[in-house]
Symmetry: C2
Subunit: 330 residues, 2 copies
Amino acid sequence: MTETALTVHQTARPTGFPSADQFRFAESPVPEPDPGTALVANLYWSVDPYHRELMDGGFALHAPLEGRTLGRVVASRTPSLAEGEIVFHRQGWRTHAVVRPEEVRRIPHHPGVPLSAYLSVLGGTGLTAYVALTRIARLRRGEDLFVSGAAGGVGTATGRFARLLGAGRVIGSTGSAEKAAYLTRKAGYDAAFDYRTAPVADLLARAAPTGVDVFVDNVGGDHLGAAIGALRERGRVVRVGTISQYNTPDAPPVRFDHADVVEKSLRVEGFLVKDHLDAQEELYDFAVPHLRSGALVADETVIDGFERIVEAFLLMLRGGNTGKILVRAA
Amino acid sequence: MTETALTVHQTARPTGFPSADQFRFAESPVPEPDPGTALVANLYWSVDPYHRELMDGGFALHAPLEGRTLGRVVASRTPSLAEGEIVFHRQGWRTHAVVRPEEVRRIPHHPGVPLSAYLSVLGGTGLTAYVALTRIARLRRGEDLFVSGAAGGVGTATGRFARLLGAGRVIGSTGSAEKAAYLTRKAGYDAAFDYRTAPVADLLARAAPTGVDVFVDNVGGDHLGAAIGALRERGRVVRVGTISQYNTPDAPPVRFDHADVVEKSLRVEGFLVKDHLDAQEELYDFAVPHLRSGALVADETVIDGFERIVEAFLLMLRGGNTGKILVRAA
């Protein structure tokens, strides 16, 4: 714990892809907790695609940013929080946070589970993948799955969870040959392709010549039209995000032939994970035993040092990570 | 019952809008039923949008067409079918049909219900509307509804059923000022517009300034994009058909911003009524008491004379009908 606290502020709105000069690191003394609060020294920060959207207006300029964070209570003036406890909170993008007890969630103690997992496969990222498969797609054993943005945090968790839930073939799309190789060699995918090499419809037809039952779409754009064509009867599309569109405001909307939706009785459904926080305990029950046994691995790209949080965020937006990207206190 | 039977054959495939010269009326003697079959003299024929699709390949050329039909058993050589019984079968587009008992469904006797209703609000058309609202949209009391192709068979049944199911505002889109007036004056719609007069999004914003919860889409095209924009959180789109695209093979696919699907947690779902035939008894239980009390009216355009069946079909494709279009034996 240093004597100086660092906070990141956004200083300008991006047009298109964000850049580092739209952020500023502000120094201040480490704050003192008031009565009823506690001081948390942050240990892990999550940077997420939705932060890009917040940059357009959800983040105030010249004010501390928010984000999912894990930290340790280092000074407490409330009986509800003990020094040494590990808590989850949303005052991200800063080295220290003063929190009220109702602002934090205690991280459960699951022996053998690394702390970072509570921001990756056991955190919002894992919960998104779990809800997408179980509540929205309602994946059944033996069904074949296609995932776009497959090498990211949600994509890797989706592939691994689908395998543990008894999926048939699991096929992923990602943005480089290296990440496609990661998916099939490390992350349990049966097939993967680099969508930049050919039309997505052609690549998907090659990887899944008889079609798929479920498409978990983290990307939007061309992937959706291609997947609609490849879906079997009663197929489902789960729309998780629109990362391909955040940085290209002039990009055309996605297009597909809606006759397919009727003739194949398809369902296309979007969701926000905040409406499914009640699934958190179910996710622990499902995933923790598999993490302990080694059947489940948390795919993570960890960047060391809070001062690299903007770099980590831009790397994530460029697709430079495999698995969930996290920043760890040095 | 005449001594001559008439059958309609398709003689050529359409490119774009079909024409009468792609059909031919064939004369033959009235057939004799073989043992195990019965002769049915047809009374009502349904012509439907899906027939347009069958013209592209589903209907064999120079062979009798198929369709939903009601007729009376006039000669029986099977103990399973009694002379005088009214039956539903699928040997449409002909004055007489020889049927096996397993090919027909007996029409239940609901006193006070007109026979034609079994091809309109109690038939496949009504079942489509009922399933769209109850099983796919899962409409709740007080929710506001937007319907495209609102003046057609499915559209009118959807509006009337929604009202009886406790919907809030019911708003319809149709292709002429006359049909819009029909919807609000006769068919129980709260508001209706002619979609040819302005961009659908503008017309819908005017008719439903605070948005809608459910969109039952019989049309596709621009309506879908407009409705996606107008849907409230957790809104549902039920895709019933694609009539706007059958006759314009070069029409672009529908387009909308899929970020809306995520951010508003929307669901877009297509279905085929053939997968929901088990809802038929539930439809009778729901609709027959309302038909008897007068709370439900079957909207129908009835064309008299089998020789006008092609005319009726083309009229339906041009949107010239209000309610379900039926042909009645002279």
